[in-house]
Amino acid sequence: MSSPIRPRDADVQAIVDRGFGSLAGARFLLLRVVDGAAARQWLASLAFASLALAKTTRLDRVRQVAFTAAGLAALGMPPADIAGFAPEYIDGLAGDSSRSRRLGDIGPNAPEHWRWGGTPETEPHILLMLLADADDIAAFEAETLAAMPAAACTVLLANVTNGTLGREPFGFADGLSQPEFDWDDRITPGGAPDRIYRNRLKLGELLLGHANEYGFVADYPQANGLGLNGSYLVYRQIAQDVTGFWRWLAEVAGENGAMELAETMLGRRADGDSLPGLDAANGDFTFSNDPDGRVCPIGAHIRRANPRSGDDPNGRHGFLPDLISSLGLKGAPMHDAVASARFHRLLRRGRAYGPMLAPLEAMRGVDAGAESGLHFVALNASLSRQFEFVQGAWVASAYFAGLSGEQDPLIGSRMPDPAGRPTDAFHYCTAQGDPRLLTGLPRFVTVKGGAYFFLPGLGGLAWILNQ
């Protein structure tokens, strides 16, 4: 925890570097602005923790804030009129049917079925993230809202998390393998070393106004410091059919085999350990010694979410071999279907909600009586190249890494591909090395809401609130 304090730490909201795992209570308040001036005045009276503060103090209450494009407009600052905002942000997560199609938000996951964010009427304007101890979070929420003038905002939803940290409702360890960031600007990206996967990314993949993995500062709203040290926050509420998931597994693999199959679909052990046999030479594991998915299936959830691929699947072997590889004259095309993961990473800050069932209870048909799921929250600097790419080309795609007819085994929508072919299969190898093909995977998750937010730096926030 004793990381050095850098000047910019005072300008970034703490959540860009801290998950606050010590604070088990969380509320994600979705607000709609009624009176922009009153809302600005109220927000200006609230304290939002900076990273510098989080580094110097053990915070027991943390408040963070982000705005949708509609929210900025409601506060009198329409982002479409400000140069530098990402077009995806201005359009919104649910604002364009082509985007929904690309992201797999179709059929039962289509925005028209969402509880929030799917239509202009249910679109939130402000996201207030409140974190505190489990026994203090209700009071923190009440105090925050009590200070809100009735004329300022209405509460669209107060999303409550379940206090379980590091485990999602299916029972798997979650929030592992986060990217690290090069806060001190030491990485020069794009050279031969990047042929090998690395987990540390240029800061410009997280924060606006900094050099990204291409070595350039991408456009961002520069005027008045609005965008500097800000980030785009993707929030999706995903309901998980825990009972349906484990019952299906028990049906297919028996009560004794269900966990092993679940871990194969996940791509790691339920407790977070990597599958034995993967290359873990450099600390964290990669799939470099498993190009055909014999250990970890190509289509497994964690492999889709981050294939841990360097810029070249053939690795780094010196100038001439590298040149031959770069010219595409070496290796198999299939093994080069997914490269350069460093351009497509997300920092996740989500939390689970609803009752937690033990797998065995769920297998035996126990119904928790209430919806469980994940408030998926991710930060990135480029919505198109990071979140939308990961979601569209990797997770939701039935063609990830050259596969066909299968989506993410845990979170796929199972909607037929555009050509009408099924996407409900899953390929894997048994521990004995026998290939297996499962078909007819049911849908285990449903998108219930979502929006793109802009998480400003504190200087940018001050400009928004005091303009």
């Binding site: 359009d91 199609r101 291409y214 456009d219 770069s326 190249r385 569209g392 093909l437 499962l438």
Partner: protein, 423 residues
């Protein structure tokens, strides 16, 4: 061996019939931009040799760039209607089949062009309006539409058999799969004839031999060329405007209805003879490399392109680029930047406003944001796009070919498991 051919027909459009043509072309689609294979104007699905085809109105939004960056170029160029097709075998036979199938429909469409008269001989008119393509890429030279269709049917039959026996051990599954395969007719794959092999060798040797013969001249020319190039590279302006959201949403609307997407881009070359000659030479080399270095499955490291082509227009003042690629546009652009930036730089850096390159291959597309904006600036909608095998990616087609090849071999042990895993 049957070769894949590229047909490019273009003629200037009558301005006053533009909206009529757009409505006509839209009537051929079942989804935005996606051709109905059975549409009444040109039922693409009945052309057995056809892989992909498109109608595109070549209205160049980047012509205005000439006012600032290319004042020596004409301010305007014609708006063309183009019909582009990639198909198997002989061009004359394909054109005959095309006219026999869709005489009325094609007449209605091309009547919107300036020099198409009611009584025109359609076949002769089409022939007369062919535009030669400077460079052409085929993902898998020699793989016919028939082969793709048969191998997909084979895969489906094998997959059904595999799904029917989910717990069978590989050795027990093999005879069941062989049995299932027997029901699927497979036309033998033709190998190249001696003449074709010799022609191929001649073509392959042409570039190194020419390079060798011209090497003294090339060496002498190298110094002024490099001086000129470095001067231009450090002085040419970049034009990569912020994308217009409405136009982006319009282009997105005709994308991602299939794993494969169409791509159309058009733009001016930088003015001056050296740029023109350089482009001619580069596209000639790309065309050579596509045939001889990358005949199967990949173009350098890009594995997602089914067919792509570069075509000069207007006395080589402009180039039109057509591609048929797997995945979304963003993923395609990223593939370009991350895997073949050098190739992109070589092939496009003579374009007006291209992001700054160094030594022809460095930089350029690596300026990610500028490069994506440059591409967007030049991308135009493809009004009608047809693909004979919806749902099939290049990986699928290659996998199907491997499955077939495996079927024709004795399989056991590890090889058998790997083969079954692909089904």
């Amino acid at each position: 061996m049957v070769q894949q051919r590229h047909l490019f027909i273009a003629a200037p459009l009558r301005d006053e019939r533009r909206s009529e043509l757009e409505a006509l072309l839209a009537s051929m689609n079942r989804l935005p931009g996606q051709a109905d294979p059975a549409n009444s104007l040109l039922p693409f699905g009945q052309l057995a040799e056809l892989h992909v085809a498109r109608f595109v109105i070549m209205d160049d939004p980047s012509l205005a760039d000439r006012a600032t960056l290319g004042t020596s170029l004409p301010a305007s160029e014609p708006v063309y209607l183009a019909f582009i097709a990639d198909f198997d075998g002989d061009e004359a036979l394909f054109l005959d089949a095309l006219v026999a199938l869709a005489d009325t429909g094609l007449r209605r469409i091309f009547a919107c062009c300036t020099d198409f008269a009611r009584g025109s001989d359609l076949l002769a008119w089409l022939r007369a309006h062919r535009v030669p393509t400077a460079a052409n890429y085929v993902n898998w030279i020699g793989r016919t539409a028939r082969q793709i269709g048969e191998e997909q049917a084979l895969h489906e039959a094998l997959r059904s058999a595999r799904i029917a026996h989910p717990d069978a051990a590989p050795e027990a599954l093999l005879p069941l799969l062989r049995e299932a395969a027997r029901a699927v007719p497979l036309t033998p794959i033709a190998s190249p004839t001696l003449g074709e092999r010799l022609g191929d060798w001649f073509d392959l040797l042409l570039l190194p031999v020419l390079a060798l013969i011209l090497s003294p001249l090339l060496l002498i020319g190298m110094i002024p060329f490099i001086l000129w190039l470095r001067w231009r590279e450090t002085h040419d302006a970049v034009l990569a405007p912020v994308p217009d959201r409405a136009r982006n949403n319009m282009l997105s609307g005709i994308e991602d209805h299939d794993i494969t997407n169409q791509y159309s881009a058009i733009g001016s070359l930088k003015p001056g003879l050296p740029r023109r000659w350089l482009t001619v030479v580069i596209l000639w080399i790309i065309n050579w490399g596509a045939r001889h270095l990358y005949p199967r499955a990949r173009l350098a490291r890009v594995n997602t392109i089914h067919f792509a082509s570069w075509t000069f227009l207007d006395d080589k003042r402009r180039v039109y680029f057509a591609s048929n690629y797997d995945g979304s546009r963003e993923a395609y652009n990223d593939d370009f930047i991350n895997k073949v930036a050098f190739g992109l730089n070589v092939s496009f850096s003579n374009g007006l406003g291209y992001p700054r390159t160094d030594w022809l291959i460095v930089g350029g597309a690596r300026h990610e944001q500028d490069f994506k904006r440059y591409l967007f600036h030049h991308q135009i909608p493809t009004q009608v796009w047809y693909k004979a095998f919806p749902g099939l990616s290049n990986y699928d087609m290659a996998r199907n070919a491997r499955i077939r090849a495996g079927l024709e071999q004795p399989l056991s042990g590890e090889a058998l498991r790997r083969w079954i895993a692909e089904i």
